[in-house]
Amino acid sequence: MLAKRKMQLKELAERTGVSVVNLSILKTGKVRAVRFSTLESICQVLQCQPGDILEYKD
């Protein structure tokens, strides 16, 4: 999604208010939980749906 929007992690962090570290951890899939408010702000900035950034792997 970031590549599609030609956006860097740092810019996303600035615009969502989520730290670069937390976004990096989110990218690695190692977070315990994601708040709805965080998901909302990321989707708002990236103009996408939660399903575009979340993926279930078996």
Partner: protein, 166 residues
């Protein structure tokens, strides 16, 4: 409750030997007070240096009670370093030094009228795909901390766990 350690044993031996050798003379009290002031001053001067980490954590330093724990985090070491820096600030500790090359952090717990605060050291290591964090909390001057070192660990670890919910 803090366990009796090798340090406590040495401290009691040290004090007992001093009392016996000086046989309760007034001069002994002055020497002891002077020694304590000198040691406290030295520790306060060097506390913000990572180079003196071995001094504060040495098992032979009977005047600095310390506490250690090691735990694993499921993120790469460089990310863990940045994460710990974030959590240190959220835990109310003051960052004193951070060395990204050595993956070492030194923070200081809150000081108050009844405490000099403790030195808190973090060392991050990557070993066989695992990221291990070593936490050390050491008193600046005190053979016993009444659980403050353990409290520092509890506060930090709780904040770290919470921080994985973003």
């Amino acid at each position: 409750m803090q366990k009796r350690t090798f340090k406590h044993f040495i401290a009691i031996l040290f004090i007992a030997a001093f009392v016996i050798l000086t046989s309760g003379k007034m001069l002994a009290l002055y020497i002891l007070a002077g020694f304590n002031v000198a040691l406290l001053t030295f520790n306060l001067l060097v506390r913000k240096s990572l180079a003196f980490k071995p001094w504060f954590l040495s098992k032979f330093n009977i005047f600095s009670a310390n506490f250690s724990r090691e735990f694993e985090v499921e993120i790469p070491a460089d990310l863990a370093f940045d994460k710990i820096l974030e959590v240190v600030a959220e835990s109310g500790f003051k960052l004193a030094r951070a060395d990204k090359d050595k993956l070492e952090i030194l923070a200081i717990s809150t000081t108050s009228w009844k405490s000099w605060g403790e030195n808190i050291y973090f060392k991050i290591e990557e070993n066989a795909g695992q990221t291990l964090v070593r936490f050390d909390s050491a008193a600046i001057f005190g053979m016993y901390t009444w659980g403050k070192n353990e409290d520092n660990y509890s506060v930090f670890f709780e904040k770290l766990e919470d921080s994985f919910t973003i």
